[in-house]
């Protein structure tokens, strides 16, 4: 391998050697020198040079100060920042003075106060007093950009980070700059909210307090808070996050940039769902069904006695329905208790899971650098694993071909081709691995529906190795977690079970059909590990103390009663699992930004499942999907209501053309005597022959549909 070419330059008298192509801001950082910036944010695309905060004296070049953020390091360059150049110092002071001309300086009542780059830079480089002799520009404030985001236009310094994100990263085109000159404002269209899956990122991007979170507004000052590094548990991506806590409550979720996983972006589901911790119907005490009298809250001591009784009475005829949101440790603990203690080996998993793709393991960031990205499976990626969609978009912007139909020639011809499977027919990745092997792909992903489905499945199988049987009738159905509790298939099983034990956070989900409800916890309240869709084992940290004992604590107590040895500490439980499944890596070594294990050798043989999707002749095939903003936690956060899907049907551009349907037109979708009327949205992210509708609007439609205007 050839060494990367480097260049050597001098910054404030310090010589540094950096790889060719390094930006000056980064080069200075390498020399331990800060070039202050506002608009510069490399994740938003090429530098725009708008704010002029980074002006430095640079040779060779014109005598006037230059925007360092727009330049890359060159051999022999001499850069002088405000530290050593009066010209640069004056320029930076000037920029700050201009920014402050219309800034309200309302730091005492500003959420950003204390963690505000404008405040910090003014302190370091700014003018000590104002020379203004006229009133500041004023705006109506704050304006709701959406139920989640408030905009204070007076504080805005027009760095255009938010609008560049909206247009150039999320590509939603919802948040824009309107008007021009000193009248320029950030705005959405008319009174419409910023409705897009990634809107919350603009809050973090804003370098001042102009875009703030409505759910964090006035909730805390930076010196009162504690950030806990953990991982989002809302989808299989597992974005790295910091949970900001104050006095034992989660106040907000921020990104904790893992460059291989999330590149510092979060979706709004991950960012705003934390309010479900305080859901009105949160179960805080165990609930027992008492004959004739209905339900009553009982003590934990009593609850464990009842649980023990239910377990014993079932006589091994137990089925455990898992959610895929349990930690590895929880799933293992449940497995160990039930399988070793009671011989109850049968589990109902929410979806298939396979290790076949480990042979094609690459980080998500590899999508960005691919020449061809094939997105197959027909379900919308953004609704299942939102961040993956951002990686795909970035790949396209960088010139990758993104295919929604398998074009084998294009895939084989590419230097790096990556496959992303999202939808039915992937068999937990097994079918995908067959494809990947056949096409010689550089990497492949299967997008599961649950956050830790793979981890839960692995942990369960580690916990014992006996074969599972299907008890009939089911003596006891254990429903582990809210996703399982909300799953209609699990409800159907419950109908057939003699007794039901539900572990749930929410009364609304558990009440009425369980004999015993044990309070559940959220991913934000647990210590443990998850495996994301890449196959990366990541650490969840307890960000706040839950109002109820966590699952591991009481499972281990229960285990004692069945003579099963089970530690209540996730670290110890993990080590047991790890010895079997993860090559013995200790809990403590997973780290805050966990690495991706190397790809394993290709599995000797991969069994091919059945062909994907039902064939449809003539008409179109309907793909219905579970929308991103749905599920037990999201439904309890009312600020997210407006993000629910629109009454729309997605059509490929080709189908739309042949049907004579235009973007935005109303269409009727019909199958087997039922029909729905929806607005058509043309999508280039859909192959011809497929129409996509969210579960919310698909009604009774069957897979074979016809469309008319």
């Amino acid at each position: 391998m050839s060494a990367t070419e480097t260049v050597t330059l001098t910054i404030d008298g310090v010589a540094v050697e950096v790889p060719k192509g390094t930006g000056l801001v980064e080069a200075a950082l390498a020399a331990g020198i800060e070039i202050p910036v506002f608009c510069y944010e490399p994740r938003l695309g090429p530098a725009v040079g708008a704010c002029r905060m980074c002006l430095c004296q640079i040779e060779p070049g014109p005598p006037k100060p230059q925007a360092a953020c727009t330049l890359t390091a060159q051999d022999g360059m001499v850069v002088r920042t405000a530290l050593t150049s009066a010209v640069a110092a004056d320029a930076q002071n000037a920029t700050l003075e201009f920014i402050l001309v219309n800034h309200p300086l309302d730091c005492p009542v500003c959420d950003k106060g204390g963690e505000c780059p404008l405040q910090d830079l003014t302190f370091r480089y700014g003018p000590g007093n104002t020379r203004m002799t006229f009133p500041k520009r004023t705006f109506e404030k704050p304006i709701p950009v959406s139920p989640l985001i408030a905009l204070d236009r007076e504080r805005c310094i027009l760095c255009y980070r938010c609008t560049r994100f909206s247009e150039g990263v999320a590509e939603d085109g919802q948040l824009v700059a309107v008007d021009r000159g000193a009248g320029t404002m950030i705005a959405t269209f008319g009174d419409e909210p910023y409705r897009a899956p990634f809107s919350g990122n603009v809050i973090e991007l804003c370098p001042v307090g102009a875009l703030t979170s409505t759910t964090y507004r006035f909730e805390a000052r930076p010196w009162e808070i504690l950030d806990v590094p953990t991982v989002c548990g809302m989808c299989p991506v597992g974005c790295n996050v910091n949970a900001t806590t104050r006095e034992g409550n989660v106040k907000r979720i921020l990104s904790r940039n893992h460059p291989e996983v999330d590149d510092g972006w979060l979706c709004d589901k991950g960012r705003f769902s934390y309010a479900h911790l305080h859901a009105e119907d949160r179960v805080c005490d165990p609930i027992l069904r008492v004959r004739r009298r209905g339900f009553e809250e009982v003590s934990w001591e009593r609850a464990l006695d009842e649980a023990e009784r239910l377990l014993r009475e079932a006589n091994g005829r137990i089925v455990t329905a898992l959610s895929g949101s349990e930690t590895i440790e929880e799933a293992y603990a449940l497995g160990k208790l039930l399988r070793r203690g009671l011989g109850a080996h049968t589990a109902f998993f929410p979806e298939e899971s396979s290790d076949a793709l480990d042979a094609f393991r690459v980080p998500l960031s590899a999508i960005r650098d691919a020449d061809v990205v094939a997105v197959l499976g027909d379900a919308p990626v953004v609704e299942r694993a939102p961040i993956v969609e951002l990686w795909i978009k970035e790949a396209r912007r960088r010139g990758a071909r993104v295919l929604y139909e398998l074009d084998e020639e294009a895939v084989r011809g590419a230097e790096t081709a990556i496959l992303v499977w999202c939808g039915p027919g992937g068999h937990g990745g097994a079918t995908v691995a067959v494809l990947a092997q056949r096409l010689g792909l550089s990497g492949a992903f299967y997008i599961p529906e649950t956050a830790n489905g793979r981890g839960v499945c692995d942990a369960w199988s580690c916990s014992d190795d006996a074969e599972s049987a299907s008890p009939d009738p089911i003596g006891l159905l254990i429903v582990s977690g809210d996703e399982a509790a909300a799953n209609p298939d699990v409800r159907a099983l419950a109908e057939k079970a003699e007794r039901v034990l539900v572990i749930s956070m929410f009364q609304g989900l558990a009440a009425g059909w369980a004999d015993l409800v044990l309070p559940g916890t959220s991913y934000l309240e647990r210590d443990g590990t998850y495996i994301n869709l890449e196959g990366r084992v990541q650490r969840l940290r307890r960000t706040v103390i839950p109002p109820v004992p966590d699952e591991l604590a009481w499972i281990s107590k229960l285990a004692e009663r069945f003579d099963v040895e089970l530690s209540p500490y996730p670290a110890l439980v993990f080590e047991e699992v790890s010895a079997i499944a993860f090559g013995g890596i200790p809990f403590g070594e997973i780290g805050e930004r966990s690495p991706l294990p190397a790809a394993t050798g290709a599995s000797a043989q991969i069994e091919l499942g059945e062909a994907d999707g039902p064939a449809v002749d003539g008409g179109l095939r309907l793909v219905r999907y579970r929308p991103l903003f749905s599920g037990p936690a999201v439904e309890r956060v009312h600020e997210l209501d407006f993000q629910r899907p629109q009454p729309e049907a997605e059509l490929s551009e080709e189908d739309a053309r042949s049907l004579g349907v235009r973007n935005g037109e109303e269409i009727t979708i019909r199958s087997n005597g039922t029909s729905v009327r929806l607005r058509a949205r043309l999508s280039r992210e859909l192959r011809p022959g497929v129409v996509r509708v969210s579960d919310d609007f698909a009604g009774e439609l069957k897979p074979a549909v016809e469309i008319s205007k």
């Binding site: 609008t163 247009e167 939603d172 085109g173 919802q174 948040l175 824009v176 700059a177 309107v178 008007d179 021009r180 705005a187 959405t188 269209f189 008319g190 419409e192 235009r662 973007n663 935005g664 043309l682």
Partner: protein, 155 residues
């Protein structure tokens, strides 16, 4: 006659990237709807394959695109230096008097909007007045009543 949507598709075809059709498409939408109302912007966005917000972002940058209703006729008096030196302000005021409105306003009957405008690129033929985007040059205050008369009588 082709519809707005089709016209925009034709314009898009002139450019390697259809997004370049934004200004012509906005201009057409404005002609069709009188001004760039929310519906006009939505229609434009659908035809261009973009969002109404991005259409508004573009439209609001340019002086000739109107996001608020205007009169049927637009009278724009250049008040930049060259025109001002030979009496543009007096011409503007004559229009104000004759129309009975202040600059920036529209007559009650919705016929005429009057506004000052930056240099129209006719400095040597001052004062330049643009009436529905057609220039009148060498306009003097005394010419104003006749021009207003002409507008009012509809042509």
């Amino acid at each position: 006659m082709s519809t707005y949507y089709e016209e925009v598709q034709e314009i898009k075809a002139q450019y390697p990237d259809g997004r370049s059709a934004a200004l012509p498409a906005l201009r057409l939408a404005q002609e069709k709807h009188g001004y760039l109302s929310p519906e006009a912007l939505r229609e434009c966005a659908d035809a261009l394959g973009t969002t109404p917000a991005l259409c508004e972002a573009v439209a609001s940058f340019y002086d000739m695109l109107h996001l608020a209703p205007t009169g049927r006729h637009i009278v724009e008096v250049c008040t930049n230096v060259s025109c001002a030196l030979v009496g543009a302000q007096q011409v503007l005021e004559s229009f104000e008097q004759e129309l009975g409105i202040r600059a920036g306003e529209t007559t009650d009957d919705g016929e005429v909007t009057l506004r000052p405008i930056e240099c129209l690129g006719g400095c040597g033929w001052a004062t330049v007045v643009s009436i529905d985007h057609h220039y009148r040059t060498h306009v003097k205050p005394a010419d104003v009543p006749a021009i207003v008369q002409e507008l009012r009588s509809g042509e």
